[in-house]
């Protein structure tokens, strides 16, 4: 019963899906104990960050049915908020909080301005306008080097209690030292869990139902008496807020931020791909998609390298399979999944469970 409430009555509705989600939950919850290595833990943290980022994008794309290309802009604002506050003002908890608050306020204002402006005119403008604004913002961030550190980005330190040298307990527990790094991981884990549950709550609330009604038939929703522009704008503001928090998580983990780590268009494409593969309009899809993608990203390039070496006899095939061209294969995968896999993994599993 409590679980039902916690998940806002939006259960996975498929035994396989439930099993996968439970496994992932346990793995992520115990990651510092299962894989104590630095790299493995970074992969787990990256998965947590992407889960929040993608789930927040799903609110916009999957539930409201509008495409934004400025999602990484809000991701970047969150990361820069922490980075600038901690590197310019000093690494204290107060500054960290101030940085996060400033980032959230800036995101709300920007999302509100973009939403009210472009959604009021025509929803189709939204995709084009966000694309233009995101690219202008990215260039601005690398140009204002006095504030943002330019192309080099910012390295910064966090309050001592989060530093990897800070030990909470003298002796390691189960072979894992309880350092600031360990604590940071669990902060990220708790934040990701809370935000995914919050998003589930939002999309299953009456507000979320209206968003889905707008997605299915804008005209009819308007005719029933819902103010479509307001709902769409609020949805884009909410999604921007969650994306900003994902950016904060990224900065907490990396202790570094630059244009390429949080603002680049490639991250936007990754987010699009994960949403489509995981399943649009199912918050759970972001969990499965993010895990699959982050793991595949690490191995796809190795796989391509193998293929490229094997095809060295045919230069053009080797060029196609070169690890530098992995974006090409990502693009092909993206197009194919939009065509043949529009409901994503979660949609497939649910259809199977429902006997469709």
């Amino acid at each position: 019963m409590t679980l039902n409430r916690l998940l806002s009555d939006d259960l996975p509705r498929s035994k396989i899906l439930t099993a996968i989600l439970l496994t992932l939950f346990v793995l992520l919850a115990l990651a510092p104990f299962i894989a104590p290595g630095v790299n493995a833990l970074s992969v787990a943290a990256k998965i947590l960050i992407f889960i929040v980022l993608v789930a927040s994008f799903d609110l916009l794309l999957g539930y409201t049915g509008i495409v934004s290309f400025a999602h990484t802009m809000f991701f970047g604002i969150g990361a820069y908020g922490v980075a600038i506050a901690c590197s310019r003002w000093g690494a204290t908890w107060l500054n960290l909080g101030l940085g996060i608050a400033t980032a959230l306020v800036l995101s709300v204002l920007l999302a509100l301005a973009i939403g009210l402006f472009s959604l009021r005119v025509r929803a189709i403008f939204f995709a084009m306008i966000t694309l233009a604004i995101a690219s202008a913002f990215q260039t601005l961030a690398s140009q204002l080097s006095e504030i943002t550190g330019g192309e080099d980005g910012l390295n910064f330190s966090l309050p001592d209690m989060l530093a990897s040298g800070y030990m909470y307990v003298e002796q390691p527990i189960f072979g894992v030292s309880i350092s600031g790094r360990f604590v940071t991981y669990y902060i990220l884990f708790a934040a990701a869990l809370a935000m995914v549950l919050a998003l589930l709550r939002i999309v299953n609330s009456p507000f979320g139902r209206v968003l889905q009604a707008i997605r299915e038939n804008e005209f009819r929703a308007e005719a029933i008496g819902y103010r479509v522009v307001m709902y769409r704008t609020i949805s884009s503001v909410l999604s921007a807020l969650f994306a900003t928090m994902a950016g904060v998580m990224l900065a907490l983990w990396l202790r570094y931020n630059g244009p390429d780590t949080s603002l680049s268009f490639e991250i936007m494409l990754d987010v699009l791909l994960i949403v489509v593969i995981g399943g649009m309009g199912t918050i759970y899809g972001s969990v499965i998609g993010a895990v699959l993608f982050v793991v595949a990203q690490s191995y796809l390039q190795d796989l391509l390298k193998l293929g490229s070496d094997a095809a060295s006899g045919l230069p053009w095939l080797a060029a196609l399979l070169s690890p530098d061209r992995w974006l090409l294969w990502l693009g092909v995968l993206f197009v194919l999944s939009v065509y043949y896999f529009p409901n994503g993994i979660v949609g497939r599993l649910r259809n199977r469970a429902a006997g469709l």
């Binding site: 025509r122 403008f125 306008i129 494409l269 693009g331 993206f334």
Partner: protein
């Protein structure tokens, strides 16, 4: 007016031409003059802006027609720009004697040859793009945006496979380099050529659209596609033709853009794409005349702010778009029904 009535001749229906947007271009140029100060610098910048605007127009005209006619929002339009520019580097590369010759007519033939080949290649790829990517997702905006964006990435990566990921210099032929001196102002020769070519494309498009049967059908299709279909015309074929022509124009524009910047990079398509979106939003989706005005405004704005305040240059075009949309929310020349 009273004359026509008393003479008894049937009064011709006067065409209500909306001239206000036309004034925007000279207005922007006049506003910039006192800010820049020196008239010769202003003249140089204005010609540069007009040239850039004309090139952008050549690229944007195809996109706005495709949207207007078939309600297809093509995020992959930028690929044809980059493709055209890269084809031009190859074409100019195989005829070095013509491009490096000191005689102007040989240079012009080299440039036109490059444009023709770029047009043909971009048109052919456009045909495939429409068949493979756009056709299956008719009438679904969300999927169109996603699919054409995917097509853009694939196209960009394929260009990197063929021509390599680095930027390639695209030198102007010998006779087109340098500048003409007018008073104190230096005006680059190629910019004049670009204005001329852009003007030609506009006139040709306007002629086809207003004076031929095909043009009539295209305009009718933009207004009300179903009605055209019910009269027995196959609007699908018309659409494919417009898509191919639009892609070919983007290819040509890409050659001009490459020559204007003197380098080509695989990412140039994505960069120009953003300018083009701003242009067609300003112009009103589906309107060719609006695209021309939007392109000229964007070109002028980019050059003026690039000179006055380089750091805000990026946001100037967005600000311009916001200002125009506040005045006319559907663009300067809104097209019916969409």
């Amino acid at each position: 007016m009273s004359n026509t009535i008393t003479s008894g001749a049937p009064a011709k229906p006067s065409i209500d031409f909306d001239w206000k947007p036309l004034l925007l271009v000279p207005l922007l140029a006049m506003l910039a003059l006192p800010l820049i100060g020196s008239p010769s610098t202003w003249l140089t910048l204005t010609v540069a802006g007009l040239a850039m605007g004309m090139i952008i127009f050549v690229i944007a005209s195809g996109l706005t027609l495709v949207f207007g006619l078939m309600d297809v929002l093509n995020f992959g339009h930028g690929v044809f720009i980059a493709l055209g520019a890269f084809v031009a580097t190859t074409v100019l590369g195989v005829m070095p004697g013509w491009a490096a010759s000191p005689e102007l007519w040989r240079n012009l033939i080299a440039v036109f040859a490059a444009m023709l080949v770029a047009m043909a290649v971009a048109g052919a790829v456009g045909l495939a793009f429409e068949r493979v990517l756009v056709r299956p997702v008719y009438g679904q905006h969300l999927k169109q945006i996603l699919i054409t964006m995917g097509g853009m990435i694939i196209g960009e990566e394929l260009i990197k496979v063929i021509w390599g990921p680095q930027q390639i210099p695209l030198m102007l032929p010998e006779g087109l380099r340098g500048a003409v001196i007018v008073g104190d102002a230096a005006i680059e020769k190629f910019r004049l050529l670009a204005v001329l070519l852009g003007g030609l494309v506009f006139v040709a498009l306007a002629w086809v659209l207003t004076r031929t049967k095909i043009g009539l059908l295209v305009r009718a299709g933009v207004e009300n596609g179903e009605m055209v279909e019910s009269l027995g015309y196959r609007i699908r074929r018309l659409f494919i033709a417009v898509f191919v022509v639009g892609s070919a124009l983007a290819g040509t524009g890409g050659v001009m853009w490459g020559l204007y910047q003197q380098t080509v990079t695989p990412q140039m398509g994505a960069q120009v794409n953003i300018l083009i979106f701003i242009v067609i939003i300003i112009g009103g989706l589906g309107s060719t005349g609006g695209a021309l005005i939007g392109a000229l405004l964007v070109g002028l704005m980019a050059n003026y702010t690039g000179f006055l305040a380089p750091k805000v240059a990026l946001f100037s075009n967005i600000a311009l778009m916001v200002a125009i949309l506040l005045w006319r929310p559907r663009g300067v020349y809104p097209v019916a029904n969409r």
